[in-house]
């Protein structure tokens, strides 16, 4: 599996970057899927509860719930991003930036997720100035 992912990543990289052009007809490579596009029931439930806490201004509770979810799925970039967003709301800009970067490290080819992380990082940096 790990190998498969690495290989898949290799084609993705081979297609994206100015690589020595592959000779022959290579079929279009599928984009690298994000590691966890569909959340498990457990994670979805915790995320819902974190979001409703955050909406009600209970940011500390929301953060605790997201950490609980991260213990279950530490490689889920959405959870890292949600936590980054909470820290941003709390005015903890250095953590917001770091957590968004952490989210990026697991984001794979999920462009939308990366774009949102970039927004969070930008706002966090603006907040630190």
């Amino acid at each position: 599996m790990r190998r498969a992912v690495a290989l898949l990543a290799l084609i993705a990289a081979a297609c994206a970057a100015p690589q020595p052009a592959p000779v022959g007809e290579a079929p279009p490579a599928p984009p690298e899927p994000a590691p966890a596009v569909k959340e498990s029931v457990a994670i979805a439930g915790l995320m819902d509860s974190a979001r409703s806490d955050a909406a009600a201004g209970r940011l500390a509770e929301a953060a605790a719930t997201l950490e609980r979810a991260l213990r279950i799925e530490p490689r889920n970039p959405r959870l890292w991003q949600e936590l980054a967003r909470i820290r941003l709301q709390q005015g903890d800009f250095p953590q917001a930036e770091s957590l968004a970067q952490r989210s990026n490290s697991w984001a794979g080819g999920d462009g939308a997720l990366r774009a949102e992380n970039a927004r969070i990082i930008e706002r966090a940096r603006a907040g630190q100035r």
């Binding site: 599996m1 992912v5 690495a6 990289a13 950490e67 952490r102 490290s105």
Partner: protein, 767 residues
Amino acid sequence: MPYRGRIVRFLGYAVLAGLLGMSAFTLYLDLRVKSEFEGRRFALPARIYARPLELHVGLHIASGDVEDELKDLGYAYGPREAPGWYVRADNALDISVRPFLFADGPQPARRVRATFDSGTVSALTDAEGRELALARLEPVPIGGIYAAGNEDRVLVRLRDVPPLLVKELIATEDHNYYTHHGFDPRALARAVLSLGSQRVQGGSTITQQLVKNFFLTPERTLSRKFTELVMAVLLELHYGKEEILETYLNEIYLGQDRDRAIHGVGLAAQFYFGKEVQYLTAAESAVLVALVKGPAVYDPRRHAARALERRNLVLRETKEQGSLSLEEYAQARGAPLGITTRAPTGTSPYPAFVQLVHRQLRRDYDEADLRSEGLRIFTTLDPRVQGAAERALAKRLAQFDKEKRFGEPGLEGAIVVTDPQSGEVQALVGGRDARYRGYNRALDAARPVGSLLKPAIYLTALSDPGRYTLVTPLDDGPFVWKSRGAPDWQPANYDRKFHGMVPLRTALAQSYNTATARLGTELGIDRVLATVQRLGVERELRPLASTLLGAAELSPLEVAQMYQTIAAGGFRSPLRAIREVTTPEGKPLLRYALKVEQAFPAEPIYLITAALQGVVREGTAQGLRSFLPPEIGAAGKTGTTDEQRDAWFAGFTGDHLGVVWIGYDDNRAARLLGATAALPVWGDTMAALAPQPLALPKPDSVEQVWIDPQTNLRGDSQCAGAVELPFMQGTAPRDFSPCASPAGAVIDAVDHTVQKAKSWLDRLLGR
């Protein structure tokens, strides 16, 4: 006449003075009783909990491990009236989960059915078969921080105590409790008359017993007896029967668990029966009442027959007082003692971990508050991981002892296991006797780390991809380092040979000292030490060349912090042992939040991790092969110091990071290697945990390239022994090895990957 008159007057004064004195004394006692009884707050130890086990579909855990957790929690096997039991059913566990007050709020009692399939939770439902997203068991209590005397108790309200327990207590200890005024002359007379004979009831009332425990020292003099009596009467004057009884039920000493004193019926119910006090049966509560007379003498674990006899006596007295029907009496009398079997744990079964918790807490709390305010501390300890680490260390140390016979004191060891993603400490073993609460080697033994520091040198190099890649040739020829004011430093390899030019990854995999020393001094000692610091080591290391080869002394916990940053993809998180602290009522006080900081870019971390996987795949840690399947892709490093005084192994999988140290406390040469002493302990620990594969996300700017190990040039999968290695874009060798034709290599590689990709996608989509 005047003479007699003077005597009368003198006697009068004397009586008056006596009365005054008496009243003053009584007044003094009265003040004491009032102020102490009202001001009295039971010292409640801080209570420490392990992490709660969260069951969810997809969790990798065997049903046996869940059962172990339930046993740790004191769950009974088979249905009971009260929650706190489980049964096995085919490949499932039916669990009646107890209610628990978590840091995020109360969780009611519930029924859970978890189905297991090849070491994974495959389904999770409630009793009606409805799907559950998550089922959290309550956390295992793992100890406390106690006041002097290690008094432990769980406070209970009188309304939560079964009425029958109170009746049994009164029938046995103080028949006339509800009618007397603090002391019972009839009982006293009976006690005096029947001195020496076997009587159930002593002369002291419940009130007197409470006064004795509460205010007075245990000396047995007449004047003290008198003071006790006065104070008992005063207590009754000011407070109601119920209030006194409630205090008594919480105060009474009911047993000893090693160094921990069991006080009150709340804790005693848990300690002896593994349940909350309100669920005690008539027979069980009679056991507690029997203990009032002498917790050691009637200890139901040590002296079952004596305890049973006394319990039945209590039941008989209760029946005779009319509080138990004949039927109830017969039934209770026929019941077994029903004591849970449990190993004595004292103040904690995991003293080393509790010590770490205590130290982290002391930064934020007063020592006095920790010992008396009843704080609830939710920690990161994973009993399953802790158990695996303890067993691995004990087993291997016993084996080394037998093989080496170095005499006393024996070999020692320490283990730290963390979650690489969060930095949570999952297990901590401070020495060979995991129950010993003393010198904690995991925290306090700073020992030379040997080659464990090498990854910091190679990480420094790989952070400069223009100069260093995994295949950059390094010179492992003789090397002398001259610096002013210090003797020449001339490191040698373990095999006393020089290996000429070796690729960088091989120098690390084989732990070559001369190549590493040359590389480290080329990079600059200061730069390497800056890397060590950025990895999270706070201790100042001496900027000497010998530091590079591990003369630096670190504790196992510090080493864990250093490797943590690598295992987490370059994100540094301070190692944490605590998640939350709440008041006894569950109000959150302090959260120890997950903090991350990117200390290194993803790319060099990806490369050093690949190199550390190489150590396991083909280097000094190949021995791990017999512990973990190669698919786990574990990364690690062995370490051995001069004269083999210290044996180390540090490494990580996808879900656990572990550091193991083995050596002697007195620094004797242990004649053990990292690879043969520390590695097996690490391997045993991890193998028991069925770890997840290590899967670092590959940064976009890193490419995987096939390398022919003969030439260290580009190869392809057809080259003998070819390995796929990561490189920063554009830094891989350009030239091809003779074993691969340039065009063919690319076609081959692409075809290969597309095929793989397809089958991988197929699997993902279920095709």
